[in-house]
């Protein structure tokens, strides 16, 4: 993926890391407070990228398809 493609896709990646994936109980070691901090940092990251995206000329589909389809 190009650097520009990665910038565009970072919003999507962080969206998925924050809200996606199966939550497994078990012996999760990471404390809840740590998780919250991680998520706050991720949200800050995604907000800054989304803002940059809005402020620049709107990128188009052709630039943004991040990877070749499987």
């Amino acid at each position: 993926m190009t650097a520009a493609g990665r910038d565009v896709a970072l919003v999507d990646l962080v969206d998925r890391l924050i809200g996606g994936g199966v939550v497994i109980a078990g012996d999760i070691t990471l404390a809840v407070a740590d998780v919250d901090l991680v998520y706050v940092s991720l949200r800050a990251l995604v907000t800054s990228v989304a803002t940059a995206e809005q402020e620049q000329i709107l990128p188009r589909m052709g630039d943004a398809l991040a990877r070749d389809p499987l």
């Binding site: 890391l17 994936g21 078990g26 990128p59 499987l70």
Partner: protein, 199 residues
């Protein structure tokens, strides 16, 4: 300390640094838990590992930040939740996730002088989002609209064989709408279709 990346029922051994911990007919794909650096590079490295794994097998991504003490703990987690995890894996089998965000050149908050203008602008936006979402949802196995500032932010669970068709549909929708910017990324591991499996 190991981080759980994904669950699979495919027995193919993963390439290092990923290891498979097997229990109850499932495998947890794990890496040693790094220091938790939240740089873009670290997030992309993790993502690349998952995508390499996804290329060769069906998998259910695990929530970011799931770290357990050792392999025994990973085995217990698999065994305790075996049926739900197996069902979650069946749900995404043979499919990948595609992401779509749609920016509009109009300011996000409708600039309305009256309540009536506001409502009509809001309903135009909802209609525009629906006209984008519905044809894509029809190609997808499942879809979900996510919260976001854009006109539309959504995730689609698409059969691997239908990805080309989906991308072509996005391009067509973009061509018909020069005032919108459609940002489509993927294929992603099916993160957004793994989260409803609740503990």
């Amino acid at each position: 300390m190991i981080e759980l990346l994904a669950i699979t029922d495919d027995a193919t051994p993963p390439a290092p640094p990923v290891r498979a911990v097997a229990a109850a007919g499932l495998s947890a794909l794990c890496t040693p838990a790094d220091t938790r650096e939240l740089t873009r590079e670290a997030l992309w490295r993790r993502e690349e590992l998952l995508e390499e794994l996804m290329a060769g097998r069906d998998l259910l991504p695990v929530r970011f930040g799931t770290v357990v003490a050792d392999e025994r703990a990973a085995e217990r987690a698999l065994a305790e939740r075996r049926d739900e995890l197996a069902a979650g894996l069946d749900r995404v089998r043979g499919a990948v996730e595609l992401a779509l965000r749609v920016h509009s050149e109009e300011p996000d908050g409708p600039q309305a002088s009256s309540g009536r203008d506001y409502l009509s602008a809001r309903s135009r936006r909802a209609e525009a989002a629906r006209e984008l979402h519905e044809p894509l949802a029809a190609i997808a196995r499942e879809s979900t609209v996510l919260r976001g500032e854009e006109l539309l932010r959504a995730a689609y669970l698409v059969d691997r064989a239908a990805v080309d068709e989906f991308v072509a549909a996005v391009r067509r929708l973009q061509d018909e709408r020069p005032r919108l910017a459609l940002l489509c990324t993927g294929p992603w591991p099916p993160y957004s279709f793994a989260r409803e499996v609740s503990p």
